[in-house]
């Protein structure tokens, strides 16, 4: 087999020192890394196993009203934590819409933030991919790209970030805690993932050795618990990545929107927070018209990167749907198919224009 060093550090500091050596990767849940190693996309020289580092698997409620989630908390454990799910229901819904039960049991919070794109050309080592090899080109650009980016892409790369979890995190302004060679630092999640850049194949703001030790949600994130949804559109009901997805959260003051949080998934190389759309909703009444306007604002810069103009239409509609359902209120019980726009029993009739038949 391909030989690599396997290092199991005893502390964060040891881990960071070990991983600062070029050719190193961190291993946590392994749900993404091991696949990529098997298909030859990644051939690390050193695998730094952080899965047994102590203290990173806790959910700590902070005095300021926020929460800190250790990087090794499993996706399923976080989603099923009663207090967490009640406080941040859209995050729990996003987590439970991702992958399969088996994968959610193994995958970690830190790893999820850094999962690699599912672009088939990234995974296929026979073709050109600027993410794998800067300057080799992008075979997705004129290839099979119906699910590729419609925001923030360049001819360098049209891949999307596949995470569901990151979408409501971006909406809520999560802060990523990093342990690095030069000590601790915080990075807002919006700055964690890089958009494609002709001069760099860098996918994130992390430096060599940087280790995500956890993430925090700021105190104000809890204000949206009553009106929060994550909606994920896909052709297969489960175990499929999104065609488009959206997190929508409202902080209502009677019949007026006091604050709104919006982010799109599967549309760009990062979870796409829609600041202008959020701003457009503040002080508005929660009408279909207001939601449509917000969706339009969120997608002003969208353009197809290939055979995927329909994703812009769908991104608009999934935003409106997520806002509509968020306004209806967070479901009292997690839906059996989390994040599915398809109703189990009850869904309000779609209002306004119907786009089919």
């Amino acid at each position: 087999m391909n030989r690599f060093d396997f290092i199991r550090p005893a502390s964060l500091a040891e881990a960071v020192t070990a991983a600062a050596v070029p050719g190193s990767v961190y291993l946590a849940g392994g749900t993404n890394l091991l696949d990529l190693m098997k298909i030859g996309v990644t051939r690390p020289e050193r695998v730094i196993d952080i899965s047994r580092l102590p203290g990173l698997d806790r959910i700590d409620w902070l005095p300021d009203g926020g929460v800190r989630i250790g990087a090794l908390v499993r996706n399923a454990d976080l989603a099923y934590d009663t207090r967490f799910a009640a406080t941040y229901p859209a995050i729990a819904e996003a987590l439970l819409s991702g992958a399969s039960a088996q994968l959610r049991n193994a995958a970690t919070v830190g790893g999820n933030l850094l999962q690699r794109t599912r672009c088939a050309y990234f995974q296929d080592t026979a073709g050109a991919c600027n993410r794998r090899e800067l300057g080799s080109g992008c075979d997705a650009l004129h290839g099979e790209n119906r699910l590729h980016a419609v925001l923030g892409w360049t001819e360098q790369c049209i891949a999307t970030h596949p995470s569901d979890f990151c979408v409501p995190l971006a909406a809520l302004g999560a802060v990523v805690e990093i342990e690095g060679v030069e000590g601790r630092k915080d990075i807002p999640i919006e700055n964690l993932h890089s958009l494609p850049d002709a001069t760099s194949a860098q996918e994130s703001a992390l430096l060599p050795g940087d280790l995500i030790s956890g993430l925090r949600l700021p105190p104000e994130a809890a204000a949206f618990a009553g009106n929060a949804r994550y909606m994920k559109l896909r052709e297969r009901a489960s175990y499929a990545f999104a065609v488009v997805s959206a997190a929508a959260m409202l902080d209502m003051d009677g019949d007026t929107i006091r604050a709104a949080r919006l982010a799109l998934g599967a549309v760009a190389a990062k979870p796409w927070r829609a600041h202008t759309a959020e701003a457009a909703l503040i002080g508005q009444r929660p009408t279909r018209e207001a939601f449509e306007k917000a969706a339009t604002a969120a997608l002003t810069d969208a353009r197809p990167s290939g055979d995927n103009a329909f994703k812009i239409t769908l991104a608009h509609r999934i935003l409106v749907r997520a806002l509509t359902l968020a306004h209806e209120g967070t479901p009292k019980v997690m839906p059996a198919l989390p994040a599915s726009p398809f109703p189990e029993q009850h869904l309000p009739a779609p209002k306004g224009d119907l786009h089919v038949a």
Partner: protein, 750 residues
């Protein structure tokens, strides 16, 4: 442990017709069922295939030295050192021969073609050895899609079938038509994706070889391997007790398995090869892509005047298997004129082959959509339209059907579904959530082939039986259903029958394919059991000490391990008593069975069914869900209703998959398949599958074969695809003629 050692499981009766649970069920759920790759003979070496990363060209070089230098690598097979075979791999071996790729040269004719085999002491070493080969190619442009392919007029479709069949005057039929509809339907390449990959563990002893491999056609495969390796057929033993799915892809010899067997002989050590999931997208067959065109001519009352079905079917650059899709229009709807024809198109893809309901699945998908359009064009309910054109005899030949309970299938399915409440026009139904609701239907049909088969039934001194035939259990339940047939023939409880199967040294049970295995192997078992009982009867009626002495002309009945005088059931004797007195330890019944050939020349032989589907569609998002699926099927005598229902469910779920999910996506520039894994090649998950209903419509058939069994393995797909597509139209008014139906198709089509 063999399945028959399992304790009796819950059941309601004793043999054929009863819904017994699977005899191999406990073995499977406890992980003790041994599949091919579970075998680890001493001294085992591991083989890993290196496959081409281009779809057309040649391998210029490979770094064999680097691979061989890797620790643990024992040998690297390439075209340069591959030992000779005794059969030309380009020469097709009848009856189901395909050209195979066994490193005969350096050419590359499709992506994932085997280009080397690395053999090592460990799987990891072989895997890395294969990676180190780093092949360099001279690449030629890949031919992908309808525009780039090379068209040809095929001499045959499927396995030796006629490419064109004409009945009546089609042009006259169209000129007499008051209404004509035309539909073009496209179906994608699909891959079998059996859960168990193609695997082999090969162990030679001199010029004898034992092969552990999943295999749907034991005797045929033995003959083929014997020819490739230049050894007598009896020197090849295949052990295939369980298959983790086959769907047609494990009936055909493939290059990788031949190479692994060759490597084992070359190195004089046992060798194991298991394909990776990605490697199953190339050298082991698939359902070929089709572009179909159907024209239907009608009188204004909906009576068909002409039916023309044309399929452009894709195959590889080097072999000829063509999806016989247009033939789906031959057996179903009464039309005075029918023309079906096929054209071939060569693409740089692996050779397609039979995949569950070959021809019928793709062809029925297109035909049922076109029939729905025809019904719409003349303003008729789709069921009424189908009944209007109900075929009382086989349309293209005029032959009578051996049995055809399709009318009952329509009635029972429609009643259960509530079809009569369906509004004629599209876009009329909404549910309480505002979702668009559509109802569609399709007719299901599948032929009843019959293969020669043999069996042996031994009645033993203790009154139990040993029954032997080399059948294949792909998950369909052969271990159970065939044992039931044998038990019935022997007048025994299934628990008293030790059933041996899945081994090539047993009598040849024919092929597990074409939905014909239960009928073919079952007939042999029925006759072998009958032979054993006849011999036992002879012993009894000729033995003055027997209570049955002299009953030869009256006849005996075998039941519950006893023979009874037919005219006086108070006079009976147990098998054990008869054998004990005769001084024999056993009686061995044998059979070599086949269907009387005149049955098929004089009759049309088909299973039938009707499938009704409900879909709901989100009008904003275009998301489709199948919310109800009701099928009613008539397939002759049902041996085990529990297993048969599962077969129908499996077929119907595959229909959902065909209609809404499955598709191999090929890069048009490189010919590489871009979704060769189960994360991205979508088949339905549980949440995509609604509550299913499969109604087993009773049907007696005294003609199709002496046991009255038709086939159930493939028919479930055939009506379902069209039913779902037609439901999508009924919900939206959009006719989508390209499978699978995607969100963007729903949003943009009209």
């Amino acid at each position: 442990m063999s399945p028959e050692k399992q304790p009796a499981t819950s059941r309601y009766g004793s043999n054929a017709g009863q819904p017994l649970t699977r005899r191999d069920g406990i073995l499977k759920v406890t992980g003790r069922a041994t599949y091919a790759a579970d075998n680890h003979p001493e001294g085992l070496l591991y083989a890993v295939m290196a496959v081409s990363r281009i779809a057309r060209g040649r391998v210029r070089s490979m770094n064999v030295d680097a691979a061989k230098a890797h620790s643990g690598v024992v040998e690297v097979l390439t075209p340069a050192n591959r030992p000779p075979l005794f059969h030309d791999p380009h020469e097709k071996m009848p009856p189901f021969g395909f050209r195979v790729e066994v490193l005969q040269d350096d050419s590359v004719r499709y992506g994932n073609q085997p280009i080397a085999l690395v053999i090592a002491e460990t799987l990891e070493a072989a895997t890395e050895g294969a990676a180190l080969l780093d092949p360099q190619y001279d690449t030629e442009p890949a031919r992908v899609g309808r525009e780039a392919g090379i068209r040809f007029d095929p001499p045959a479709v499927s396995i030796g079938g006629p490419p064109k069949t004409a009945h009546g005057d089609v042009e006259a039929g169209f000129s007499n038509a008051a209404i004509t509809v035309e539909a073009e339907v496209e179906t994608p390449p699909q891959y079998h994706n059996a859960m168990e990959p193609h695997a082999v563990v090969a162990e030679w002893d001199g010029n004898r070889v034992v092969l552990d491999m999943p295999n749907q056609a034991l005797a045929l495969s033995c003959a083929s391997y014997a020819a490739f390796f230049g050894i007598p057929v009896d020197n090849v033993t295949i052990r295939s007790p369980f298959l983790g799915g086959g769907f047609g892809s494990k009936a055909i010899l493939n290059g990788p398995q031949i190479l692994a067997i060759l490597a084992a002989r070359m190195l004089n050590r046992p060798v194991k090869l298991a394909l990776t999931r990605a490697q199953m997208y190339g050298p082991v067959g698939h359902r070929g892509q089709t572009w179909q065109k159907i024209r239907i001519g009608m009188e204004s009352d909906g009576t068909l005047t002409a039916l023309h079905h044309r399929s452009l079917s894709a195959t590889s650059a080097f072999d000829d298997f063509l999806e016989p899709a247009a033939n789906a229009s031959l057996p179903l709807y009464a039309s005075p004129a029918i023309l079906v024809e096929h054209e071939g198109i060569r693409l740089d893809t692996g050779t397609p082959g039979p995949m569950r309901a070959p021809g019928e699945a793709s062809g029925s998908a297109a035909l049922e959509v076109a029939i729905d359009e025809a019904a719409q064009a003349c303003g008729m309910d789709p069921l009424a339209f189908r009944l209007k054109n109900y075929a009382e005899t086989e349309p293209a030949t005029g032959k009578p059907f051996s049995s055809k309970a399709l009318r009952t299938c329509y009635e029972e399915g429609a009643t259960r579904f509530g079809w009569s409440r369906r509004p004629r026009a599209a876009g009329q139904m909404r549910d309480e959530n505002g979702l668009l609701v559509g109802w569609g239907m399709g007719t299901a049909v599948f032929g009843c082939p019959h293969f020669p088969a043999e069996a042996r039934a031994t009645l033993r001194a203790d009154g139990t039986a040993l029954v032997e035939t080399g059948a294949a259990d792909m998950g369909q339940g052969a271990w159970t259903a065939l044992a039931q047939i044998a038990a019935e023939a022997l007048g025994l409880d299934p628990d008293q029958v030790e059933f041996h199967s899945g081994l090539s040294t047993l009598p040849d049970a024919g092929i597990a394919g074409g939905s014909g295995h239960t009928a073919s192997a079952g007939l042999a078992l029925n006759q072998a059991g009958g032979d054993a009982i006849a011999q036992l009867s002879d012993l009894a009626v000729n033995d003055p000490a027997s209570r049955l002495f002299g009953a030869g002309n009256i006849g005996l009945t075998a039941r519950n391990g006893r023979l009874y005088r037919r005219d006086d059931e108070s006079r009976s004797e147990s098998y054990a008593e008869i054998l004990a007195r005769s001084g024999r330890s056993d009686v061995v019944g044998t059979a070599k069975s086949n269907r009387d050939p005149t049955v098929a020349t004089d009759h049309a032989l088909y299973s039938h069914g009707a499938v009704f589907a409900e879909v709901k569609i989100d009008p904003d998002l275009g998301q489709i869900r199948t919310t109800r699926l009701v099928g009613a099927f008539a397939a002759g005598r049902i041996i085990n209703p529990r297993l048969v229902q599962s077969q129908y469910f499996g077929g119907m779920i595959w229909g959902i998959s065909f209609a809404l999910h499955e598709e191999a996506i090929t890069d048009k520039r490189t010919g590489r398949i871009m979704n060769a894994d189960l994360a991205e090649y979508h088949v339905p998950v549980n949440a995509d599958v609604p509550p299913l209903e499969a109604i087993l419509v009773p049907e007696d058939d005294a003609i199709v074969n002496p046991i009255g069994v038709k086939g159930v393995g493939e028919i479930g797909i055939t009506g379902t695809v069209g039913a779902i597509a037609n439901a999508v139209w009924h919900a939206t008014g959009s006719r989508i003629r390209k499978f699978p139906i995607r969100i963007e198709d729903v949003l943009s089509a009209r």
